[in-house]
């Protein structure tokens, strides 16, 4: 073998149209090593893995630049099947298991061991009988190697989530000639003890000579499990480190980094903290992919509170839960008044408005006019913009036109007029329509969820300025939830970081990058620093 690396990815650049998602990224993995791949959402981790597996999405969008070497040879990986043949395995984040099949069948799926029978001799190999005995023996071996003593004929349906993860790993190990295994956020759905077990299994696998790529955002697991680390940031290689030569603070810093200048500049002011506007206690929200678990948070009147965190960690669950858009439990008080949780109508009536993160899905009636969109909530909740005509309560067209035109001017909505369909507007203008609808309710409290997602930089600035103006001029209390830390830092008074559905810490916007990085991976910066200091003292 000409090289010490089992996998080398050299100078990978990938563009989707105009958009460069990976630029000049390299990584190298040795056999028997656990290599962590670290980065925020959108840093380019999944694109890099898609390239490694030859996913159709890569080939369909013009391929990529750079080289992928396996054992030092140029590996032209054409498809996921090709990747499997070449000895690359993947443990998926969403389990790719057939629930109605047994563990054995799942492990040997599409690689069944068969023996010929009468029909297969005539009609070909596809009709051969399954050799259950040798299949179950193989499955047993693979299960043993991941430390699972469950019966191999159990059905996958109804297994605990952690077990499924191990079955998935067992399936990959069972593949002959596997030399590289990719674990895509394997611990995200596991309990702490399961996660520990998983890491030890990973280490066992690595000891047997298989290289492991470990994708995660949990810094402590990285420190515990990996041998070396590649950190991506904004599609670029931020750094490559030996685990023994780095520490968790440096990793956090490298992962977050400074992303350009702040979007808008604001004068510093003291954080309002006189009255609690919104008191959230033990909030649990069952929002798919964004669970909130026992979160407690106070929002002060007159402040802009940012809520940040990585995708899927529950930050979106907070506004959606308070507004009752998903099943939720807990106590919520608005200006001291208890709010019935899970009742959207009650929340709106109490004076909370929300601009949803899902503009097209939840935020707008795409097939209706701008004016109808703007007045909708005010009409339905407060009964405004209506007039009586005999037994009918009808829309008051002239009032509606008036407020719509005013909003279009105030928020600078670029459109042909108030009757244009909302679906034909650009993303930024759609967002402004959503904000206009919230404002029509004259809310005391405003949730803004991902206000700048998918809109261009100019519109982004306008939207943020609008929010600041509402806060400063009208004294509106605003909670802004965003994945863009930079955006939160530029307009928020305080920033709450959420990880795994829990509040990790509330940081001032000028806190160092490392603190945000630590908080996003679920470690309270203060605790870490104290622990670190204590460690140094000893």
């Amino acid at each position: 073998m000409a090289t010490e690396y089992v996998l080398e990815m050299q100078n990978i650049t990938k563009q989707y149209g105009e958009n460069t998602v990976l630029s000049d990224v390299s990584m190298a993995v040795k056999p028997g090593e656990i290599h962590a791949l670290l980065g925020e959402n959108g840093a380019g981790k999944s694109t890099l893995m898609n390239i490694l597996f030859g996913m159709p999405v890569i080939h369909n969008t013009g391929g990529f630049e750079g080289k992928v070497l396996l054992d030092g040879d140029d590996a032209n990986i054409l498809s996921p099947y090709d990747a499997m043949i070449k000895g690359i395995g993947m443990v998926h984040q969403e389990f790719m298991l057939l629930p109605g099949f047994t563990i054995t069948e799942n492990i040997k799926l599409n690689r069944e061991i068969t023996k010929p029978n009468f029909f297969s001799r005539i009609l070909g190999k596809n009709l051969e009988t399954l050799n259950m005995k040798s299949m179950s023996a193989d499955a047993r071996k693979a299960l043993d190697s991941v430390g699972m003593n469950i019966d191999e004929f159990t059905r996958v349906q109804g297994l605990p989530v952690g077990y499924m993860q191990f079955v998935e790993i067992a399936r990959e190990i069972d593949k002959t000639g596997v030399k590289l295994l990719v674990f895509d956020e394997p611990t995200a759905v596991l309990t702490e003890s399961e996660a520990t077990q998983l890491i030890s299994v990973m280490k066992q696998i690595a000891e047997s000579g298989i290289a492991v790529i470990f994708i995660t955002h949990r810094l402590d697991e990285v420190m515990a499990a990996s041998d070396s680390i590649t950190i991506l940031r904004d599609g670029r290689l931020a750094a490559t480190r030996r685990t023994s030569e780095t520490n968790i603070v440096e990793l956090a810093e490298l992962m977050i980094g400074r992303k350009g200048e702040s979007v808008i500049d604001l004068e510093k002011r003291s954080v309002p903290h006189d009255t609690v506007a919104l008191h959230i206690k033990d909030l649990n929200v069952d929002m798919p992919g964004e669970h909130v678990v026992g979160l407690t948070l106070d929002v002060y009147e007159g402040e802009i509170l940012g809520i940040g965190g990585l995708a899927g960690q529950g930050k979106l669950g907070i506004p959606n839960g308070v507004m009752g858009l998903y099943d939720s439990e807990g106590e919520v008080e608005l200006f001291g008044q208890p709010l019935k949780i899970g009742d959207t109508d009650a929340a709106l009536r109490a004076g909370i408005a929300m601009v949803s993160e899902d503009r097209k899905g939840v935020g707008l009636l795409l097939d209706q006019s701008i004016e109808d969109n703007i007045v909708f909530n005010a009409m339905q909740i407060h009964g405004e913009y209506l007039h009586k005509l005999g037994p009918f309560t009808l829309k008051n067209s002239s009032d509606i036109r008036g407020i719509a035109e005013q909003m279009i001017t105030d928020l600078d909505i670029r459109c042909f007029g108030p009757t244009q369909y909302a679906g034909t507007l650009s993303g930024g203008n759609q967002q402004k329509v959503c904000i206009a609808r919230a404002l029509c309710m004259s809310p005391k409290f405003l949730f803004v969820s991902e206000p700048t997602r998918g809109i261009d930089i100019g519109a982004k600035k306008l939207v943020l300025e609008t929010l600041v103006k509402l806060n400063r001029d009208n004294g509106m209390t605003i909670v802004i939830v965003s994945s863009e830390l930079q955006e939160l830092r530029s307009i928020s008074d305080r920033i709450a970081i959420v990880s795994e559905g829990r509040l990790v810490d509330i940081l001032p916007p000028e806190a160092p990058d490392a603190d945000f990085g630590l908080a996003m991976s679920g470690i309270k910066p203060q605790d870490h620093n104290e622990k670190g200091a204590a460690g140094h003292d000893e």
């Binding site: 707008l364 795409l366 097939d367």
Partner: protein, 620 residues
């Protein structure tokens, strides 16, 4: 680009052709009533007259020849066999000699015949108009009597357990009609005029004697004159009888109106060609195709000399009778259950209301309103239950509504057999169960909307009450769609998650929409029945949901968006194509059921097309 150029070139060619035809037509058309038209008609008439009489001339010659031959052989002392042979031979020879010998007008002096014929025509005309007036008066006087008689007959038929035929219209028995003195005088004058014609014919065919001329009187009269004759029908009849070669100028005159129609059709075609892209983007392909089809049918009815105003009037009536049922689809689409193919629930409820009116014998408007009231109540209850089902099966509305529709029709097939109605109008007199079709009469609500304030413009019948009722229903639905609840309901249909985020109860809104749709269905079937004059039970309501759904889709609605205008446009186009299609299809392929095939093809094809579109982007 070249495609565009070709299109423009073709349009110009079409326009040029159209202008040519139009000018010719416009020049020729007024000439019909002028000197030229008179001459053409006269020529054709004389030709036909001579041809008809010529046939009897041949017969006369044959008779003479046969007689001569018989006498000749007998004189020669031949046997019976010889006589028969000789007679046959003579007949054959004579026939060959005279048949096929087209009368050449230029060879014969027809001046006296012309004058006599024209005088006879005038006399006939006078008699005809007198007779028409007298008959109309007679019908008017005896109409009520005839209607009562018909209803009496129907009652008797019902008691005898017979089915009332669906096309049984009131016919005034004319056997009691006695010609008026004026008519008799006019007829005598006409007969006198015929004598002059007969003399003139005898001059040309000396072989025809007075008696044979008199035997020809009826056929000559029938050929020359028929009531409601116009230029085209006279000319066509003469040409058919005359077997003469048609001159180009006569032909041009005859088809002057067709030239104008064709010219307009070409102009329309050229305009469509030029604006095809704009039209397709604005209206969508199916509406353009159906619209084109409708326009083509209009022109075809003109070319085949069918009465376009009558057919359009029928279209309007059928639009009125179907519109409320189509309107019933609107709340369904608005509240997000897509096409309410479970409409038969509402239809059956309406039918029950109608049946109860007849059972209790409530007459006139009261009966109609009672039927609507009962229908609406039943529909509201059933619609509520139906909506609960739909709320439990979100996302599968299309198949759920379809199967609910089928199931309800089948279930009611049993119910119609066991429901305890006792009226003889409803029941089979023997055995159990309700009749297949239940005829409405003036004692019930037959044509109660159609005839309210109805009037005629020429042959265009305007069913004022029906149209007003349709407009009222449309207005109410439009008003509802602008109300607070209506707006909320549309938001639920448009985007349920948006509605939830606005604190709306999505299920409640869907219940409201579904109930409204079902209730409108009940009203719709009653409007339909009163106009049709019959209530159809058993499997008849099964197809109606599909017809209503495809009508609104033709109008431009999608499975998630619709407006009142879609209802009106769609119903008009759909019913128009069917109404005009039937007579045209019968001319093209006589005795076929192609029109029915067409209806099924269009209604199901349109639904399929709409389904392919519904999965696409939500922006229209």
């Amino acid at each position: 680009m070249t495609n565009n150029k070709w299109r423009r070139l073709l349009a110009i060619v079409l326009c040029a052709a159209a202008v040519l035809l139009l000018v010719t037509g416009i020049i020729e058309l007024p000439r019909r009533t002028g000197r030229a038209g008179q001459d053409v008609l006269d020529d054709a008439r004389i030709q036909a007259l001579l041809s008809v009489t010529g046939e009897s001339v041949v017969e006369s010659y044959v008779a003479i020849a046969k007689k001569e031959a018989q006498e000749r052989v007998r004189a020669g002392g031949g046997s019976m066999n010889d006589i028969r042979e000789a007679v046959e031979k003579a007949e054959q020879e004579t026939r060959e000699k005279y048949t096929g010998e087209s009368t050449d007008l230029s060879q014969i002096d027809t001046a006296s015949l012309r004058a006599a014929t024209n005088a006879y025509m005038n006399a006939l005309d006078e008699y005809g108009s007198l007779e028409t007036a007298a008959r109309a008066q007679y019908i008017e006087e005896h109409y009520a009597e005839a209607q009562a008689a018909l209803e009496e007959k129907h009652r008797a038929m019902l008691e005898a357990g017979q089915e009332i035929p669906e096309n049984d219209a009131v016919v005034v028995d004319m056997s009691g009609f006695v010609p008026t003195p004026e008519m008799l005088a006019a007829e005598a004058a006409a007969d006198n005029a015929y004598l002059a014609v007969g003399d003139a014919i005898s001059l040309i065919y000396p072989v025809l004697d007075k008696d044979s001329v008199m035997t020809l009187k009826d056929s000559v009269r029938g050929m020359l004159y028929q009531s409601d004759d116009d230029f085209s029908s006279q000319f066509d009849r003469y040409v058919e009888q005359g077997r003469a070669k048609r001159t180009f100028s006569a032909y041009l005159l005859r088809h002057a109106d067709d030239l104008i129609y064709t010219a307009i059709a070409l102009l329309v075609a050229a305009a469509l060609l030029l604006y095809s892209e704009w039209l397709i983007s604005k209206l969508g392909i199916p509406r353009v195709i159906i619209g084109l089809f409708f326009i083509i049918l209009c022109f075809m009815t003109l070319l085949y000399d069918l009465s376009l105003p009558t057919l359009l009037s029928n279209t309007v009536v059928r639009m009125g009778m179907n519109a409320v049922m189509v309107l019933a689809i609107v709340p369904g689409i608005q509240c997000g259950i897509s096409l309410n193919l479970g409409l038969p629930i509402g239809l059956v409820a309406g039918l029950l209301g109608g049946l109860m009116t007849i059972e209790f014998g409530i007459p006139g408007w009261g009966g109609f309103l009672f039927a609507i009231l009962v229908g609406v109540v039943i529909a509201a209850v059933c619609g509520y239950l139906y909506a609960q089902l739909l709320n439990r099966l979100k996302g599968e509305e299309m198949s759920v509504t379809t199967y609910v529709g089928f199931s309800v029709v089948s279930l009611m097939c049993i119910a119609w057999l066991v429901l305890p109605f006792t009226s003889l109008k409803l029941r089979w007199p023997l055995g159990t169960g309700l009749r297949n079709t239940i005829g409405l009469d003036s004692g019930n609500f037959r044509h109660i909307l159609n005839d309210w304030g109805a009037f005629n413009i020429g042959s265009f019948y305007v069913p004022t009450g029906l149209l007003l009722f349709m407009a009222l229903c449309c207005f109410l639905v439009w008003l509802f769609s602008r109300s607070k609840t209506g707006v909320a309901m549309q938001a639920v249909g448009n985007n349920p998650r948006f509605a939830e985020a606005a604190g709306l109860n999505v299920n409640k809104m869907r219940v409201i929409g579904t109930m409204l749709s079902t209730v409108l269905g009940a009203v719709g079937i009653l409007v339909y029945s009163q106009s049709y004059g019959f209530m159809q039970l058993y499997t008849a309501p099964r197809q109606m949901g599909f017809i209503a759904a495809s009508a609104i889709l033709i109008g431009g609605a999608s499975t998630s968006r619709c407006k009142i205008s879609h209802v009106l446009i769609g119903t008009f186009l759909f019913q128009g194509v069917l109404t005009l299609g039937m007579p045209v299809a019968n001319v093209l392929v006589p005795g076929s059921t192609i029109s029915e095939t067409l209806r099924i093809l269009i209604s199901n094809g349109i639904i399929l097309y709409a389904l392919t579109k519904s999965g696409g982007a939500s922006r229209a």
